[in-house]
Symmetry: C2
Subunit: 139 residues, 2 copies
DNA sequence: TCACTTATTGCAAGTAGATTGCGATTAGCA
DNA sequence: TGCTAATCGCAATCTACTTGCAATAAGTGA
């Protein structure tokens, strides 16, 4: 884990605890967004003693600081979390069979925003875009 | 309610009941996707005697037949339902303040699909796209 | 029109994911 | 080392939704 992460946590008045470090460790080493309970299962495999509630609370805290991003995928009834740092604006594709999630690095929507603002008179703040389909293994 | 709707229900071996008719009535007269409990509240205002469970079951049944579409918006922890009929593929924009939801009729993503398939080797089945921001009243 | 079959309903209870209350623990600083 | 408040674990609670079951009623076929 990078020193800067610990610094950011301290800077916000929060503490770097054993459990928080473990949660961050899993998030940093996982390439796709994790649900709280998936993360909890990961920690159990690593023999980290932790309560599921603590995982929830840590994810919330890290989201509040801004270290972690919370997302909700379309055919998925739980929230997922991913590290923000070093990850630009991106979207996801998810396999309908095995649930595998991958990043999409392109975003074709920036140009579209002003058109939508004209049409709807909404002021656009953000967008979410997600594809689903079948991953190479499940086709 | 259109006769064809009743026919489709009968054709699938289901029955047109008082409650199902009421659920369909609300869906047909609402221009944005409703959550089961919003729909239930609507029916209560209309003095329709119905149990929330029945709303859930009817929405599920109508989804199974294919009359109704179930969607999940990004910062929303419940499912929403809208009539399928007469409504082409479209996306939504949602106000962060008041929750107002409007349809977006454009979809810029059809061209993108083959590019994503090449990049990820996924086979793309569907996508979801949603904007959030501030509606005219809340700006 | 009536009787029969079975989809549908209402009520109660159960799930899953997430949140909250509270007393015990511990990080981080003086 | 000792203090203070953030954090933790456990139990209880909450919300959205589902399931079980006995009672009801839609639609058919005589």
């Amino acid at each position: 884990m990078k020193t800067s992460v610990k610094d950011e946590i301290r800077a916000s008045g929060k503490r770097m605890t054993r459990t928080r470090q473990a949660v961050l460790g899993v998030l940093e080493s996982t390439k796709y967004p994790l649900s709280p309970l998936e993360l909890y299962a990961c920690l159990q495999k690593q023999n980290v003693a932790i309560d599921p509630v603590t995982v929830y609370r840590n994810l919330n805290a890290l989201k509040t600081i801004g270290l972690v991003r919370r997302i909700k995928l379309h055919h998925d009834d739980q929230f997922r979390y991913e590290m923000k740092e070093g990850r630009a604006h991106h979207h996801h594709i998810r396999c309908r069979i095995c649930g595998k999630i991958e990043d999409l690095l392109l975003c074709p929507l920036k140009k579209l925003t002003s058109m939508i603002e004209r049409e709807t008179r909404f002021l656009v703040g953000d967008h979410s875009l997600e594809f689903s389909g079948w991953c190479p293994k499940c086709q």
